[in-house]
């Protein structure tokens, strides 16, 4: 009896004490506030030398060029020192597709896991090249030749396959289509006078604009892919050249032209021109201003905007500009002061979603630089890829 009373009394005292003790000790493993060290210096940067919002897509040494977005915009392929790699946007997990001595100039995605590659023998800029397609990755660096004697390539009608310009003889070029399966399935009958230097398919996929260097002059032609009719829409004066390829948009065919580069490495300013729809007369492109120096251009996937690498005037910095073709509004989307942006015609690429452009740039150095990091982590000291958002700039421009 006495023991029962003792036990009851103990229970009465101990129960609230146990509850109190549980609260006091925190009921086991509660989440503790653990500080995470801030990002190391350099990792939290928002300006990598090209203005806010621009993000690097690659790091380390290597002369990178010709970016190409995968169909789902999750990966980017590019050429490094003549070989082809691709990588996820946010990781440095490079996947190499070719041998290192491949001589690649550009790569186009055929699917999420295969590429078409245009390569040319190194040191032979004037010689025709070869088009290859990659093989499944269980055969490392294996490619299959699709077409030889290729002068240049372009996306095919409806973004399926490719159109290639072929060297037929010294004075003429031919055109052919390579289907999505990687086989040449159509040869267009009319030959183009001269050597084709650039191609651009029309938004409706039925015609193609062709830039060609003739014996004495450059000309811009249009080939109707259905009827096979070929007509010349512009012929440049002797001593003038078309730089890169034309870009066919909703507002006409745009191209960059200027005095022919004589190879003395002097800066020859080139300007942007347009042949409006249903016209055969080129005109200075509206919206950019008469002092604008254009270096390379690429139409957006919807054909409503042009990405242009150029300068407001011959003395200003090179930047990436977006020209809204409906409003003729030109907006700089980079703020470059000391970077060297590549101006090759393949060195800028729209994402398939149309909200980003990839460009290639590096910092200018005049003397030796010493940095406290391994070379493969460095960014601006080598040509690297950058992703430039363009949606925000369109909103602010409007």
């Amino acid at each position: 009896m006495r023991c029962r009373v003792l036990a009851r009394a103990l229970a009465r005292v101990l129960t609230p004490l146990l509850i109190l003790a549980a609260f006091a000790t925190g009921c086991g493993n509660t989440a503790r506030s653990v500080p995470i060290s801030p990002l190391p210096t350099g990792q939290d940067q928002t300006d990598f030398g090209l203005g806010p919002g621009v993000k690097p897509l690659s790091f380390g040494p290597g002369d990178k060029s010709a970016p190409a977005w995968s169909p789902d915009d999750e990966r980017v392929a590019f050429v490094v020192d003549g070989y082809v790699v691709d990588k996820p946007l946010d990781a440095q997990d490079l996947r190499r597709w070719t041998t290192k001595d491949f001589g690649a100039e550009r790569a186009e995605w055929r699917s999420e896991d295969s590429l078409t590659i245009f390569a040319r023998e190194p040191s032979s800029e004037e010689a025709p090249g070869t088009v290859y397609r990659t093989l499944p990755k269980d055969t490392p660096f294996a490619v299959k030749q699709i077409a030889a004697d290729v002068l240049t390539i372009s996306a095919g009608p409806g973004d399926e396959g490719l159109v290639v310009a072929l060297e037929t003889n010294q004075y003429e070029s031919g055109l052919a289509r390579i289907g999505a399966d990687g086989r040449m399935d159509q040869v267009y009958t009319p030959l183009v006078g001269g050597r084709v230097t650039g191609l651009s398919i029309s938004p409706d996929g039925r015609r193609i604009a062709i830039a060609a260097r003739g014996a004495a002059t450059f000309a811009l032609h249009v080939l109707d892919l259905t009827s096979g009719s070929l007509r010349t829409i512009a012929r440049l004066n002797p001593g003038m050249e078309i730089h890169g390829g034309p870009e066919w948009t909703d507002q006409g065919i745009y191209y960059i032209a200027g005095e022919e580069d004589t190879g003395d490495r002097s800066v020859v300013p080139h300007h942007l021109y347009r042949v409006p729809p249903s016209s055969t007369t080129p005109e200075p492109a509206p919206g950019v201003g008469e002092d604008f120096v254009a270096s390379s251009l690429r139409a957006s996937p919807d054909g409503k905007q042009l990405a242009i690498v150029g300068r407001r005037n011959p003395t200003s910095s090179t930047n990436l500009y977006i020209l809204d073709l409906a409003t003729d509004n030109l907006k700089a989307v980079t703020a470059n002061e000391d970077m060297e942006i590549k101006i090759g015609s393949d060195d800028l690429a729209w994402s398939n979603s149309g909200d980003r452009v990839a460009i290639v740039a590096r910092g200018v150095i005049s003397g030796p630089r010493v940095l406290s990091a391994p070379a493969d982590t460095l960014l601006t000291d080598f040509y690297n890829l950058y992703e430039v958002p363009v949606t925000a700039s369109r909103k602010s421009a409007s």
Binding site: L10, L17, T25, P368, P374, L378
Partner: protein
């Protein structure tokens, strides 16, 4: 009265034992430590104790040719003597298609706190500016210098020489 004191003592003892048991359980529950959440430092350097000095003026005199003399100052900026410091120099081209990489090594037996010792190298930089594509501009040369001790003190410097 004696019984009340006994009960109170028993209750206090039970409280202490229970609290102790809960505290033991809480600490033994295996939550991640603060240390494990810290991100790794991106730098290969372990601290400020070892410093590598590559004079820009000196680097400016280097040519992309054989037999180029490079002197690297290895400085102990810490408060303790460092021993068996390995200094390695890796010379290669910015052109990643070229597989030609040259390695050079030197060692420093002892380096007192605050002391600077010069490690001299004769480098072949003749290949570093080559490019496989004749149309492309000459490549930049890269000189990557690392110093490390067996105890884990290390430092890295990368010099980039314009073509």
């Amino acid at each position: 009265m004696k019984g009340v004191i006994l009960w109170l003592s028993g209750a206090a003892l039970a409280f202490l034992l229970t609290s102790g048991a809960f505290l033991l359980l809480a600490n033994a529950s295996g939550g991640p430590s603060e240390k494990s959440l810290r991100p790794d430092s991106p730098s290969a350097e372990s601290g400020p104790a070892l410093d590598l000095q590559l004079g820009r003026d000196y680097l400016s005199s280097l040519k992309q040719r054989p037999d180029q003399k490079l002197s690297i100052g290895v400085h102990n900026a810490g408060s303790q003597k460092l021993s068996d410091i390995n200094v390695s120099v890796k010379v290669y081209s910015e052109n990643t298609a070229l597989s030609d990489v040259r390695y050079y090594r030197s060692s420093i037996k002892d380096l007192a706190a605050g002391e600077t010792v010069t490690a001299d190298f004769t480098l072949d930089l003749s290949f570093a500016g080559q490019n496989t594509d004749q149309g492309a501009e000459p490549a930049r040369a890269i000189i990557e210098v690392r110093a490390a001790t067996p105890s884990g003190v290390s430092s890295v410097r990368t010099a980039i020489l314009p073509a």
